[in-house]
């Protein structure tokens, strides 16, 4: 879901970079040198997850896990995803310098939104509720991310309407897969390491 360099228009690039910078401010305020190693682990897990492909019928898709990052890191998702995307841009040329702002916004804003919507559910005792919370976090995060990607293309020019629509539609199966996997992950974490779900950045 990275948008390549040179595609988007200047107003889209500039405004989303500005929102990303302002999103990073509360995130950085919550980060200190004690919780940073934990945040870095989630950044790298986000990075690694995007390298792992899961099968879907005849093809395969790669995970994004920004919903999971969101419910665990909250506002710290902005800096955490920013550095992961920067590393991807430098190592593999996925995304790039000028699109760093918009790509971070498209991943991190949904993460923060699902943090507010679903992280209370993850603290419930019932396993079913925890699964539902995780599923919704994964599903809604990808839903919003692909919507934002489609919108950033659409705001660049109406000519991208078809491309934007195509990107959104192809992500619908990804939403379900992310939902299911995030759901199982939070149930597992709840059992094995509940401290992680209590929020490691306070």
């Amino acid at each position: 879901m990275h948008i390549a360099e040179g595609v988007l228009s200047a107003p889209v690039l500039i405004s989303s970079a500005a929102i990303t910078v302002s999103g990073c401010i509360p995130g950085l305020r919550k980060l200190d040198y004690n919780n940073m190693p934990r945040v870095a682990v989630f950044s790298s897990a986000f990075f690694v997850a995007s390298l792992i492909h899961v099968p879907l019928g005849p093809t395969s898709v790669h995970l994004l896990l920004n919903g999971l990052t969101g419910v665990i890191l909250g506002w710290a998702s902005f800096p955490a995803l920013l550095v992961a995307l920067f590393l991807q841009a430098v190592l593999f040329q996925f995304g790039g310098i000028t699109t760093l702002g918009v790509n971070t916004l498209n991943m991190a804003l949904p993460a923060v939104i699902v943090f507010y919507l679903f992280s209370p559910l993850l603290k419930k005792k019932s396993k079913v509720l925890v699964f539902i919370g995780g599923f919704s976090a994964g599903f809604v995060a990808i839903f919003l991310s692909s919507l934002l990607v489609a919108l950033s293309l659409f705001f660049t020019g109406k000519v991208f309407l078809n491309a934007a629509r195509f990107i959104f539609l192809t992500h619908i199966p990804v939403m379900f897969i992310e939902g299911v996997i995030t759901g199982f992950i939070v149930v597992f974490l709840r059992k094995v390491k509940p401290a992680l779900l209590e929020g490691i950045v306070k």
Binding site: G6, V7, M36, R38, S44, F47, L56, G96, F188
Partner: protein
């Protein structure tokens, strides 16, 4: 290994002060990304190509990265030329390609490749340590730099953990398929990965604290701005100046 290394022979450009390279890449990318003149973008591509030749990076390192980048661009080519209104250029079977659509797709392709070739040449070739160091000189928040550095450190750790869990699965005869069981197993693999990496990060952090870590980064090899750096840097400066003038003046190109 997650890292994909850039292979190259030794060259002046690879020994360039990373700070200069970083500033150049940022300015160059911004100008090319916002430009709407095909002449500016074409010249930008040409200059990035010369930069690449000058850096003596192996062709293979460049090409296999460009292939990945251009997949997204190829996808746009399938849609854009047909959906932009304008003068008829030519038609394939029943679909009409407009001149505007064709030129716009071409502009995007050139832009993307110009920026990517430049950043491969000047950033990806530098190695992360030098890049982190250069960033720390450019007034980027110290926390971001520390986070980036730790991320880079942990990516390999997490990746190797993943490989060992995956091997354990394979030994037990597990095969991925499109089924709930598969997704569940997969989720547990990832969750185990998180827990293990988290514990490991905690241990590393405690060990760092024991050794007196207080958030400050110590750097061994400092950048020295030599006259060669200044010569290359001024060449880059004039290239940026030229592109800016052509882009924002009324010169007809």
């Amino acid at each position: 290994m997650v890292r994909v290394e850039i292979k190259s022979k030794d060259s002046l450009l690879l020994r360039l002060d990373t700070r200069i390279g970083l500033i150049y890449v940022v300015l160059f990318s911004i100008i090319i990304a916002v430009s709407d003149k095909i002449s500016v973008v074409a010249f930008g591509l040409l200059s990035s190509f010369f930069l690449f030749l000058f850096s003596r990076i192996r062709w293979f390192s460049l090409l296999h990265r460009l292939v990945f980048v251009n997949i997204f661009i190829a996808f746009l080519w399938l849609i854009l030329p047909f959906s932009m209104p304008g003068e008829l250029f030519f038609s394939i079977w029943k679909f009409n390609v407009t001149k505007e659509g064709f030129m716009y797709s071409l502009l995007i392709t050139l832009k993307c490749n110009a920026i990517v070739i430049t950043s491969i040449t000047l950033l990806s070739s530098q190695g992360i340590f030098r890049l982190v160091h250069a960033l720390s000189h450019l007034k980027i928040s110290n926390k971001i730099i520390y986070l980036f550095f730790l991320l880079y450190r942990y990516v390999d750790v997490v990746w190797n953990e993943y490989l060992s869990i995956k091997r354990a699965l394979q030994i037990r005869g597990f095969k991925f398929s499109t089924s709930l069981h598969s997704y569940k197993t997969y989720a547990y693999v990832l969750a185990t990965l998180f827990v293990r990496s988290y514990n490991r990060a905690e241990n590393v952090h405690k060990a760092m604290l024991c050794r007196g870590f207080n958030g400050k980064f110590w750097i061994l090899n400092h950048f020295k701005l030599g006259y060669k750096d200044l010569i290359i840097g001024s060449g880059m400066f004039f290239n940026i100046l030229f592109l800016t003038i052509v882009q924002w003046s009324k010169i007809i190109f």
